[in-house]
């Protein structure tokens, strides 16, 4: 079992370190400002050439600027404590174990959580199981 991941970025942080406005960065990369805005929000999956360009301008390796983040982390952070308690109850686990989902990696996920628990968590979150987790392809 693996987390479904999406691309998140630290562009904003690095850009502010260099005191580079959004528009300037956009011009340097050769994209519109909206693209940079969406990239910073993490709601856009950039092409590799754009990623290289940004890493060149910000002088940071791609791995530092763009990182993969489990989709579930974002969703868990958007929930209130009361809602999290409810979801934990639905899944039949305690709150701390549910919250640990936002920190563990793929390997621990398989060890710590059974598949039916994960299905129940997805159910509690009101999201399709496939949007949060993916099964590994057998060799």
């Amino acid at each position: 079992m693996k987390f479904k991941k999406k691309i998140a970025s630290r562009i904003k942080q690095f850009r502010e370190e260099l005191e580079l406005p959004q528009l300037e960065l956009a011009k340097l990369v050769g994209v519109s400002r909206q693209t940079i805005y969406y990239l910073e929000r993490g709601s856009y999956n950039p092409s590799l050439t754009i990623s290289f360009k940004i890493s060149e301008i910000l002088k940071k390796p791609i791995n530092d600027i763009f990182y993969q983040e489990p989709v579930i982390k974002d969703i868990l952070e958007g929930k209130s404590l009361a809602e999290l308690r409810e979801i934990a109850e639905i899944a039949g686990i305690n709150l701390e174990k549910l919250a640990s989902l936002s920190e563990i990696d793929d390997e621990e996920l398989t060890k710590e959580f059974r598949e039916d628990t994960l299905i129940k968590i997805a159910l509690g979150l009101g999201v399709d199981f496939k949007e949060l987790f993916e099964k590994e392809v057998e060799n």
């Binding site: 999956n45 950039p46 952070e77 958007g78 209130s80 701390e96 640990s100 920190e103």
Partner: protein
């Protein structure tokens, strides 16, 4: 001899893990502390009681006065026994309705809670059907504080939080047919709420969606697009070099197996290897993960 006293049970490693609160839970708890919660004052039910008494009082008076007037003007004759019966029925029904409305409204006031949290306003209300309305700050357009005639009698206020909803709902809300999503009646001090909402909005909300276009001036946008166009033309000479084939062979994975693991057609891998395709970052990450290397090792922009 039996041992007296409590036996010490060693703590499980997992118990320890649960004792130290997880980061996310801690964060949520601090969020909970920062948020502002409240319910509506009980004057609300008194206000609604007065309203219903007035409305039903007028209706019952009209019905009865019509019956009396009709008899006097000899449109019809109402026997005196019927008159008494009518008095009892009309006032009895009105009284029952007022009682039901009062019970309903006191339940409504008791169940009504609102919470101004870091990300959104949550309003929970409803007697028979429970409703939890969540309003994100980015959708709030304006906050109106209403103080009607009845409100003034009981020294309460109504806060209406107007949101950017569907056009039909907005139109009917403007005409006053439908209550806006953020409707908080019976407040003693509405300015605390207004202040708190504004504070949260400036403190936590990012640029609201849609605003990124508004910041742009048209001439700026034109210039921006022009520059982008020139730069993209300049970039056409750039080529994405890849060492995907070498790394794949080093890791002893066939092209077909790689395609399957990454979840793309084989053709995509072939195009990539030939340098004819500019992949998305997500795809590049997936390939790098399978081949266990860095993206910079895998691709190079020349």
């Amino acid at each position: 001899m039996k041992s007296i006293g409590r036996k010490l049970i060693p703590l499980d490693k997992n118990d320890f893990k649960n004792l130290t609160l997880n980061k996310l839970v801690k964060k949520k708890m601090s969020e909970e502390k920062n948020s502002y919660e409240g319910s509506i004052s009980s004057s609300y039910k008194n206000k609604e009681l007065l309203k219903s008494i007035l409305v039903l009082g007028v209706i019952s008076t009209v019905i009865i006065s019509m019956a009396i007037a009709g008899t006097f003007l000899s449109w019809w004759i109402t026997p005196i026994e019927w008159m008494y019966l009518m008095f009892i029925i009309v006032y009895g029904v009105c009284g029952a309705i007022i009682l039901i409305v009062y019970i309903y409204n006191s339940a409504y006031a008791r169940n009504f809670t609102y919470k101004i949290s870091e990300n959104h306003i949550i309003i929970k209300h409803g007697v028979l059907t429970k409703i939890v309305a969540t309003i994100p700050y980015s959708r709030i357009q304006n906050i109106n504080i209403v103080n009607g005639v009845f409100d003034r009698m009981f020294k309460t206020f109504t806060v209406k939080i107007e949101t950017a909803g569907s056009s039909a709902a907005a139109a009917s809300a403007q005409k006053g047919i439908v209550r806006p999503e953020g409707y908080i009646p019976g407040l003693k001090d509405p300015y605390i709420i207004e202040k708190k909402i504004k504070e949260m909005m400036t403190k936590y909300s990012a640029v609201p969606s849609g605003l990124e276009d508004k910041i742009f001036k048209p001439e700026e946008l034109a210039f921006d697009n022009f520059i982008s166009y020139i730069l993209s033309k300049m970039r056409e000479g750039e080529k994405l070099m890849t060492s995907i084939t070498e790394l794949r062979e080093k890791a002893n994975i066939s092209a077909a197996a790689l395609a399957e693991k990454v979840g793309v057609p084989l053709q995509t891998i072939n195009y990539l290897a030939e340098g004819r395709y500019n992949p998305s970052l997500a795809l590049a990450y997936k390939i790098a993960e399978v081949l266990q290397c860095k993206i910079e090792d895998l691709f190079k922009l020349v």
